[in-house]
């Protein structure tokens, strides 16, 4: 499995207790980041928008990585996101087929960057869910919901099995037919 860039973390935090509030409410967030440090930072970013608390007057109680429960099962993921384009904020719903949620989230970030030129800081994931096949909305995911799926591989990529065996000149033309 290729190493994925994004990991899912559960961050739990609260404001620091003060004389006004002895037991402040504890908030929990699930978010995606490349590492734990960034996850904590993103946690405060979101919490600042929801409550009047900053990192300086709050504390992170726990941060755990959430791992995929069934990485060998293919699932359809629906991702709801809010992103900032050059002209304003928009909501979007995207669907991906993948074996892990982290893989689907990485696909989403790559697709948003390529299709809409939106980078990581400008995307907020509102919600993710695994969608059963009946409820998928996008044709590009629905076309793989075929139990007897069959298609030819049209183009054969001829390459040496390791980068070490790469040569600039070849003796004969490669055969590209599968």
């Amino acid at each position: 499995m290729v190493t994925l860039r994004f990991h899912q973390y559960q961050v739990v935090g609260r404001a620091l207790p003060s004389e006004a509030e002895e037991h402040p409410k504890i908030c929990r967030m699930k978010l995606w980041a490349t590492n734990e440090v960034r996850a904590k930072s993103k946690f405060w970013y979101f919490l600042r928008k929801l409550k009047k608390v900053k990192k300086s007057n709050g504390q992170v109680l726990a941060i755990n990585e959430i791992f995929e429960k069934n990485p060998t099962k293919i699932k359809n993921y629906g991702i709801w996101l809010r992103y900032q384009s050059r002209t304003g904020y928009h909501n979007m719903y995207k669907e991906y087929r993948d074996t892990t949620l982290n893989g689907a989230v990485e696909q989403m970030y790559n697709e948003m960057a390529s299709r809409h030129r939106v980078r990581f800081p400008c995307i907020q994931i509102i919600k993710t869910a695994t969608i059963p096949a009946k409820l998928c909305k996008r044709e590009s995911t629905k076309q793989f919901h075929d139990s007897k799926i069959k298609f030819p591989s049209v183009f054969k990529k001829v390459r040496p099995p390791t980068r070490k065996l790469k040569t600039t000149y070849k003796a004969s033309r490669p055969n590209l037919f599968m």
């Binding site: 499995m1 060998t72 099962k73 293919i74 991906y96 087929r97 993948d98 074996t99 995911t141 793989f144 139990s147 007897k148 799926i149 069959k150 298609f151 030819p152 591989s153 049209v154 054969k156 990529k157 390459r159 099995p161 390791t162 037919f177 599968m178």
Partner: protein, 133 residues
């Protein structure tokens, strides 16, 4: 020219790049346009890009995403291992592996055998030439 080898559930493929190079795997499901869920009796089921797979002629009969035991039984029934080793592609790979694993004494023995075979061929050729002349 129509296509003969399709990406489908049950197609046996050879991994031609990466860590799993040289392994025979079965396509168990299709993730999307570029990736397949791939399984073999001695590896954890995982996803692989089609660019890393070379499709073979062998296809086994399995339901979509079978249990490991079902997969192993289906592979036994279709006799994938023997079919592969008797196919010309499979035989070529076995010969390549043997040649790569030779030690110097083996290479010496091969040299002697090659000289002997060439000698026999030349004798026959000389006989045919004499009869033609």
């Amino acid at each position: 020219m129509p296509f003969k080898r399709y990406v489908e559930i049950g197609r046996v493929a050879l991994v031609n790049y990466g860590k799993e190079y040289g392994r025979l795997v079965v396509i168990v499901d299709v993730v999307d346009q570029n990736r397949a869920l791939v399984d073999a009796p001695d590896m954890v089921r995982g996803q692989m890009n089609f660019k890393r797979l070379s499709l073979t002629d062998i296809k086994i009969d399995i339901p979509r995403v079978p249990k490991k035991k079902t997969l192993i039984d289906a592979m036994e029934k279709a006799d994938v291992k023997n079919k592969w080793e008797n196919s010309s592609w499979g035989r070529k790979l076995i010969v390549q592996k043997r040649r790569a694993a030779l030690n110097d004494f083996d290479r010496f023995k091969i040299m002697l055998a090659k000289i002997k075979r060439a000698g026999v061929v030349r004798q026959e050729l000389a006989k045919l030439k004499k009869n033609a002349a």
